[in-house]
Symmetry: C2
Subunit: 258 residues, 2 copies
DNA sequence: GTTGGCGTAGTACAGCGTACGAGGAACTTA
DNA sequence: TAAGTTCCTCGTACGCTGTACTACGCCAAC
């Protein structure tokens, strides 16, 4: 992710040798955190501090300096617990995934209910940690991510699908959930930024051009009131569940045609 | 987005005065691009150069220096066409939205077909410009974004829904499309990075713990083969359309109960 | 009591966005 | 044609970033 002074110390890879096998640097999950003497912090502490900064000030505000500062430690101290910032982010993400995992025993036996449970937890966690979409997808599987996948498999197990169908089904629900959460986060950020008057001016000018008859109709003449109505609509509950329901309806109709 | 030396020249806002109204800085869409003398570049040139860098090297590689360099210009020259990097990004996004807009006259009269057309264009554009999710949602409406919304309204117009229902329907399809595109981008990036052996080691160790019986079963013993099969499955076409179909099935069942 | 390694602070460096303002080019006016 | 004016280009500099590196103090283990 951050390759600022690209791959230091790697040197000129000695040709021929299958060095790649030998020089694998283990993932953070393989390396015990410092505990032999008397470490002042734990990885969990560090991850929590980073989460707090990200939650309240945004992902970009998470810097090694800021995290260390919040812990009352020197910047470089963090590098004793974590190899680089990427690993810190890995910890942060796995922490969020922990919130996505449904507590043991609570997962329903009914596939629709179970998928809905997981979906709601995912949505809530992503909404609470709105920065999650920025670093995600850089390939950092963690223990809690695996637990989440295990639960997804458990949820759809009653349907008795084959592997491809299973994967497709879970993926499609994830697609909807991710998209909803992403767009919800975007909307909320936009709402928190407030609606700058320039934007409204821009809309008005564009609409005045007559090129958008349906948008014009959609907002019903009064743009300000229309915007407010849309914002109000976005804030009303149930939208997420209704969309998920429709998707699950479509899935159910396919698997159990009446 | 970039507030590095925060709000220069704004000064100590003179209390009392409703200065906020007067000091609105117009959006880029309101400001003509330089054309009076003999400008060496155009906003379109600049946006294209930035797109090319982002497409091939990633969004983080787009810097004012790099864009200027690609154009054979001095860095600060860009600031004549664009007020800051945020505006450049705004141009980039609107350029992508231009690809999302269905060419005039091609939009179907059937709502399902029309929504599918739009969805496919969106997916294709987002896949081609995989960086799009990083800057999106910072509140930058543009002309092409508006055209896209107009088309979405046009697509569902035949259903004769009220405003809330219309907005909800469009939003739900967008949720799915965004989520699919986002996850597709993430998967592709992961695939391009290759599957580092440490990740496989991690999976193996976790699975060996016995805590994930369903994942174990899912991969069927041979983790390498299982991974390959999943990657192969992800690459096969039709997955997007099948998911969209299921969602539209659910929607159709709700609006036209047989 | 000694010592080796852990934890820390400080420094250095490359790259970022962009404020400032000098300088040249091109059009307008006299 | 000459001067004035405006547009356009871009070198320099500043404060920010992540992080590698160095030097040093402290404390647990021998």
């Amino acid at each position: 992710m951050y390759e600022m002074s690209g791959e230091p110390g790697r040197g000129e890879d000695r040709a021929g040798e299958q060095a790649a096998v030998a020089e694998v640097e283990p993932l953070i999950w393989f390396r015990q955190e410092p505990a032999s003497r008397r470490p002042s912090h734990t990885r969990a502490d560090i991850a929590r501090a980073a989460l707090e900064i990200a939650d309240s000030e945004g992902f970009d505000s998470v810097s090694m300096r800021r995290v260390a500062e919040r812990l009352g430690a020197g910047t470089m101290t963090l590098y004793h617990y974590v190899r680089n910032k990427d690993e810190l982010i890995t910890l942060m993400i796995d922490q969020v995934m922990a919130e996505v995992v449904v507590p043991a025993g609570e997962l329903s036996d009914d596939w629709r209910t179970a998928l809905t449970q997981i979906a709601n937890r995912t949505r809530d966690a992503f909404a609470a940690h709105h920065w999650i979409f920025e670093p995600m997808g850089d390939g950092r599987p963690g223990p809690n991510g695996m637990r989440h996948f295990e639960q997804s498999l458990q949820a759809v197990a009653p349907l008795g699908l084959d592997r491809d169908q299973t994967f497709e089904l879970i993926g499609q629900v994830d697609d909807y959930v991710f998209g909803y959460a992403l767009r919800e986060v975007q909307e909320r950020e936009e709402h928190e930024r407030g609606r700058p008057p320039e934007v409204l001016d821009f809309f008005k000018r564009e609409l005045a051009s007559g090129a958008y008859p349906l948008i014009d109709d959609f907002f019903g003449g009064d743009l300000d009131a229309g915007f407010d109505a849309v914002v109000d609509f976005l804030g009303r509950p149930g939208r997420f569940d209704r969309g998920l329901s429709r998707l699950l309806d479509g899935i159910e109709a396919e698997f159990s045609p009446k």
